[in-house]
Amino acid sequence: MGREPGDLLQGTLGLLILKALAAEERHGYGIVRWIQDVTGDVVQIEEGSLYPALRRLEDRAFVESRWGLSENNRRARFYAITREGRQHLHADASSWMRFARAVICVLEAEPSVV
């Protein structure tokens, strides 16, 4: 697996977005903030790339969007996860977790490198 950590994160951007929307609908910045807050700013995505990713998710009908008012009464586009989105999130998250656990197992094996 020649995956660089950056690639891994890019590829999982969709997964992160869906997870961000799992609890409630958010606007784009809301998604970024949620990820930032949850990871303690460890995962820094290039915020511009969020939007094409959202469009792709929308094309695949995993999210849908509407125009609404933000918490500070600004016009903002809100995204919500769809039923298909949830199913996809569930499947993708499980396989990601399995993969991550496997990587952790490898890294924790003797002799320890961490």
């Binding site: 606007h27 784009g28 910045y29 970024v32 903030r33 820094q44 290039e46 915020e47 511009g48 790339s49 939007y51 094409p52 469009r55 094309d59 009908a61 849908e64 969007s65 509407r66 125009w67 933000s70 600004r74 016009r75 903002a76 586009r77």
Partner: protein, 881 residues
């Protein structure tokens, strides 16, 4: 309820401006991020910089998003449009289903209109549009002497030297040969042709080979190619026939090939006459025996040099002809006729007139349907107004109505194809020999495409106006009108009136066409043919030179035949003639004793050989002197009989009797004119008689004759005994071309009858449609005016007055329609100029009768609603309002 399709959800946020939305979204993000950094204590400039750094390149992202959203919107719109269309179609079908009477009426009218148009188009396609079946047909020309006359053999040899114009030149003529030796003797249709003609026709033999140029020459082997039909019919399709000899006219001919069936298997003149050939025969013409330039019987076919246009080629032939004239002395002018002109020839004006007529029928059908739709739209005004009020866009409403009329048109077109299919079959059955290439007319993919396009076009034509009009409905006004609100207002009534006027005008023009053709046919039937065709039957006999090589034997056979036929019970007169009337025949120059004419300016006449009794059998009147008797034989003084046209033309103011002429057709010396007979139309019914000379068979023997027999009873009844007489004289001689002269007359009228019949059908159709349209409009007006009529009657108006007022409305429409129609017919008459005979295209009698017919029809059509109006009970009308 059906689940809402997913894409409908997108409708909510797609505003008119994708770019602005994208900018808003990204700006919101950047500003929120900047605000958070400010809150975290960064200075303003640093906050903005940091926000941008985190974001990446906003312009690049915005561009990507804009492109993506635009694409998606476009896709969405397409889907939306499709779905709306499907919805409209479903809705339209439901509406049509709910009004079966209306739908049926419209579909029927359209089926007739589209069907008739398609049927006529398929005939025109076969005759005019489809290229001729020969390869490079556009470079093939028919070459003719002035007056579309054929050539003599020496003329052909002259022209063959003109290699500047023609890449290839050949001659052919149609003739007949008796096939004997294998079952019943049979007369075959033969095309005798040079090798070059066979080559130009582009036929590929099924088996065997084509003629070689060497086989054009005299003294070569007699060779033939059989048509596949003949091969199967007479020789059981035996492939070993190649190289074997068959007996034609008592001579052996070697079969060298089989011609596959199909349109290339016939020569142009046969194609023009819608005739098949049984076999092809090599030219084998002897220049010595055919040295006379008077014997013009060859049809010339040429292929122009590549890159040479018709006009250029014609120009060059003029200079070549000038050279020939200096060398030979006689006029040598030729005309080049594009082959399709030769093949279609006289049928062209008829086809063009029919196309015009059928287009008018279609227009009338459209007008009628438009009128029906308008009436229906009037009823639907409230529905449409309510839909408009509920927010349906005007475009959507127009489309909805258009979809409905297109559906109607397609239904009508579908039914019309059945009509077209039946129509084409009917046309082919009706007049197989009336229009060249009619047999090729079929309803194929192209015709179906035409019908489909026509349906869509008509749908637009009759649907657009009512749709636009209906969609302009003013809601408030409709609602104000309340329950009686089916009124269309004056504008609508004017429109419907205009449509009726158009319908009447179109049917007037059509009826004029039909009337003129009917009168032409009538005039043609009344034409003095110069002979009496009733109870006369004719048949063709050809004496093979092997058994009748000498004039003496030929004369003896023909005399014996005539005597035996004459003796048959039921025969009034039996006689012989070289060509029967109405079919053309031999003609050429002749001499008059004591007169000199410059070369090429000789007196010209039709030349016929006739036996005693011929003029009696055909009841051709003897005007002066005598006709042939049994004493006019070899050795007796040579005599001829001339017709009145010749007497008037060449002997004006004097008696031709006793004058001497030179017949110049295998005769020597002069003949004395002993009699003058009435003029006979030898060419065609519509062509006045030309000068003609008759010579007795006994003094100018020939190896062929038409046996014409006037019977006392049914002419067909005599045929078996005639056949027995011939068989008793010569077992191997076929009796060919057995027809009554009445059939000959009728065949000459076939194309006109077909044209007349079609015009008749079209015009009656248009008359019925116009009458129905008028009836509908007047009925509708009566319904509109119920209240007014009720009030007037309550105030003392008589039923008669009410009727008169309603009838007046109908008649006013008709009057305007007839006036417009008359003007149109005057102008359109030019297209019929080539078809009418004996009447002008502005014939006042026809115009007056048609106007009267329309007026009566209109009166009848308006009478029913007028009576209904007069019977209204004013009390109940007023109560109901």
């Amino acid at each position: 309820m059906q689940e809402q399709p997913r894409w409908r959800r997108y409708l909510r946020f797609w505003g008119p401006d994708i770019a602005a939305d994208v900018d808003d979204e990204l700006r919101f993000h950047l500003e929120m991020r900047e605000r958070d950094f400010l809150a975290a204590g960064l200075p303003p400039a640093a906050a903005r910089e940091e926000a941008l750094a985190r974001f990446g390149d906003p312009d690049k992202v915005a561009r990507w998003l804009r492109a993506h959203d635009t694409r998606k919107l476009r896709r969405f719109k397409r889907t939306q449009a499709m779905s709306d269309l499907l919805q409209d179609i479903r809705y339209g079908l439901r509406r049509l289903w709910k009004a079966p009477g209306f739908t049926l009426a419209v579909v029927l009218v359209l089926a007739l209109g589209i069907g008739a148009t398609t049927a006529i188009f398929s005939v025109i396609d076969a005759a005019l549009l489809r290229p001729l079946p020969y390869p490079e047909a556009e470079r093939l020309v028919a070459v003719y002497a002035p007056g579309q006359n054929p050539f003599s053999f020496p003329q052909y040899l002259d022209w063959k030297r003109d290699t500047e114009v023609f890449a290839d030149l050949g001659v052919y003529w149609r003739t007949t040969y008796a096939l004997t030796g294998a079952g019943e003797p049979e007369m075959l249709q033969v095309g005798r042709m040079s090798a070059s003609v066979a080559r130009m026709l582009g036929v590929v033999p099924r088996v065997g080979r084509l003629f070689t140029p060497a086989e054009d020459l005299p003294g070569t082997e007699r060779v033939v190619m059989l048509s596949e039909a003949l091969w199967r019919r007479r020789f059981g399709g035996d492939p070993r026939i190649l190289g074997r000899a068959i007996t034609l006219g008592e001579q052996p001919y070697t079969v060298i090939g089989i011609i596959p069936p199909g349109r290339r298997s016939t020569v142009p003149t046969a194609l023009a006459a819608a005739q098949e050939l049984d076999l092809w025969m090599n030219l084998r013409l002897d220049a010595k025996k055919n040295a006379t330039r008077d014997l013009q019987f060859l049809d010339m076919l040429g292929r122009l040099r590549p890159g040479l246009g018709l006009a250029q080629a014609a120009e060059r032939t003029v200079s070549f002809a000038r050279g020939l004239k200096e060398a030979v002395g006689t006029d040598q002018d030729v005309t080049l006729l594009p082959l399709e002109r030769l093949v279609i020839g006289t049928a062209r004006p008829l086809l063009i007139a029919l196309a015009g007529a059928v287009a008018m029928v279609l227009l009338i059908a459209c007008t009628n349907v438009a009128n029906l739709l308008l009436a229906r739209a009037a009823v639907r005004r409230r529905e449409i107004a309510i839909r408009a009020a509920l927010g349906a866009a005007r475009g959507r409403l127009v489309r909805q109505l258009l979809v409905e009329s297109l559906l109607l048109a397609l239904l009508g077109g579908g039914a019309g194809m059945l009509v077209a299919w039946a129509g084409v079959a009917g046309l082919r059955a009706l007049g197989p020999n009336s229009v060249p290439r009619l047999a090729e007319a079929t309803v194929d993919a192209k015709i179906l495409g035409f019908a489909l396009a026509l349906s869509l076009l008509t749908g637009l034509l009759f649907g657009l106006l009512p749709a636009l009009r209906a969609s302009r409905t003013d809601l408030a006004e409709v609602m104000k009108e309340g329950t009686r609100g089916t009124a269309g207002g004056p504008a609508r009534e004017r429109l419907r009136g205009t449509l009726i006027v158009a319908e009447v005008a179109l049917s007037f023009a059509l009826l004029i066409g039909a009337g003129l053709l009917l009168r032409s046919l009538d005039r043609l039937l009344a034409v003095d043919k110069g002979f009496d065709a009733e109870r006369v039957i004719s048949s063709y006999l050809l004496l093979p030179s092997s058994r009748y090589p000498q004039a003496q034997q030929q004369s003896a056979f023909l005399r014996e035949l005539r005597e035996r036929a004459q003796a048959l019970p039921g025969v009034q007169t039996a006689a012989l003639v070289s060509d029967i009337p109405l079919g053309g025949g031999a003609n050429g120059g002749f001499g008059i004793a004591g007169r000199e004419y410059p070369r090429g300016k000789d007196p010209f006449a039709e030349k016929r050989i006739a036996s005693p009794g011929y003029f009696e059998a055909l009841r051709i009147p003897v005007l002066a002197g005598r006709v042939f008797t049994e004493r006019d034989i070899t050795g007796a003084p040579p005599v001829v009989v001339v017709n009145q046209a010749l007497a008037r033309r060449y002997f004006p103011g004097e008696s031709p009797l006793g004058k001497r002429v030179d017949f110049r057709w295998d005769t020597s010396g002069m003949q004395e004119i002993v009699g003058v007979v009435g003029d006979v139309r030898e060419q065609a019914l519509h062509q006045p008689a030309r000068p003609a000379i008759y010579i007795p068979y006994a003094q100018r023997p020939a190896d062929w004759a038409y046996l014409v027999v006037r019977t006392t009873g049914d002419p067909h009844g005599i045929v078996p005994s005639l056949r027995r007489v011939v068989a008793a004289l010569d077992r191997n001689m076929p009796v060919a071309d057995v027809r009554t002269l009445e059939d000959v007359v009728a065949a000459g009228l076939a194309a006109r009858r077909l044209g007349m019949a079609l015009f008749g059908v079209f015009s009656v159709l248009s008359l019925v449609l116009a009458a129905l349209g008028l009836y509908a409009v007047i009925s509708y007006m009566v319904v509109q005016r119920r209240q007014e009529i009720g009030i007037r009657m309550a105030l003392g108006a008589q039923a008669r007055q009410v009727m008169r007022s309603v009838l007046g409305q109908g008649l006013a429409l008709i009057a305007v329609g007839v006036l417009c129609g008359a003007l149109a017919a005057l102008w359109l008459g030019r297209f019929l100029a080539g078809l009418v005979f004996g009447v002008g295209t502005t014939d006042p009698i026809t115009f007056a009768s048609v106007a009267l017919l329309l007026a009566v029809t209109a009166l009848v059509a308006s009478m029913v609603p007028a009576l209904r109006a007069a019977r209204l009970d004013p009390a109940s009308v007023l109560r109901s309002e």
